[in-house]
Amino acid sequence: MLVDRNIETDEVETREEESSINNELAELSKYVEMITGTIRDMEAPVATTSDQLPQATAHLNDLAKMTEEGTHRVLALTEAIETNRTAVFSALTQLQGSLTGGQATDVGKVVELLKADERRLMDIHVALSFQDLVAQRVVKLVTILNEVQHKLLKLVVIFGIKKKKDGTAGKDGGRGSEMLRQLEASKTTALEQNLVDDILSEFGHS
């Protein structure tokens, strides 16, 4: 009698456990279905983005190249103007020496104006160093984009969204993250020349 009651209790417990497991499996199944749906939704944007990134990289490289070419063009023109300015300056200085009175004064004024332009031309030259800074930032952005592309390709392959075309393995060295960190840091922590000079003076450099 006692044995029968024990067997009955065990059966009830087993049924309850089975029911609980079934409920959990049903929940899990719903969750997997939801995740599969999310991955399916990701398919188009991830595939499009991984296709667009090489284009973005190419555009950035073109941008660096174009600014370099444009800068050389402006440099060449300012160099030509400086050559002419130097020649005119020299000729007028000679002329001034052979003149007297008001004529010498007038030519002297022109000579002074030409002298002032020397500094302005040099300022134009030096201002063009922006191109180097732009190019350095572009290089950092390209590195970051390449890393994002590799990671996206991994995602694409892992979830079977799309087979990789070139079959190359993505490099996960974290260089892009480091570049991103440098790029962000340069916005807030790059030092101005006067601060650099303060640090140099601490080390005995004036």
């Binding site: 300022d123 160093s129 180097d132 800074l133 790059a190 030092l191 020349q193 004036s206």
Partner: protein, 134 residues
């Protein structure tokens, strides 16, 4: 009266052709006429070992060999170790400057710079050389 010895042969080191051209033009305006270019630290080191240079103006961030490694190589070479070395760079974090000073940089100019800033730094380098000579 400028202390800058413009008769010296100068090596301008930068991977960007625009920057080499800009720095060379500023140096020409100061009065230098013997100017040579190098695209990276290794290229620069090879040229320096050829002899004859009296001043190096170098960028930091370059492929193949960085400016800071060039500086260390110069300071480690018995023939080159006393060469004045001006770093002209966008690398302007405090740790960069300390690293450059510890490696033996003569002075440091941050990009974007002005012609006056570059000239001022060269004046200081040559003043220090004069002072060291006594």
């Amino acid at each position: 009266m400028s202390l800058i010895d413009t008769s010296l042969k100068v090596l301008v080191v930068d991977d960007m052709s625009t920057m080499r051209r800009i720095v060379k033009n500023v140096l020409k305006q100061i009065g230098f006429s013997d100017l040579t270019e190098a695209e990276n630290g290794q290229d620069a080191l090879n040229k320096l070992k050829g002899g004859g240079f009296g001043l190096v103006v170098s960028d930091w961030n370059m492929p193949v060999m960085q400016g800071i490694d060039l500086l260390r190589a110069v300071r480690a070479d018995p023939e080159l170790k006393s060469l004045p070395f001006l770093m002209v760079t966008a690398e302007a974090q405090k740790e960069n400057i300390i690293e450059a000073v510890q490696a033996g940089v003569s002075n440091y100019v941050v990009k974007p710079f002005t012609a006056e800033a570059l000239q001022g730094k060269l004046e200081k380098i040559f003043a220090n050389i004069q002072a060291a000579k006594g």
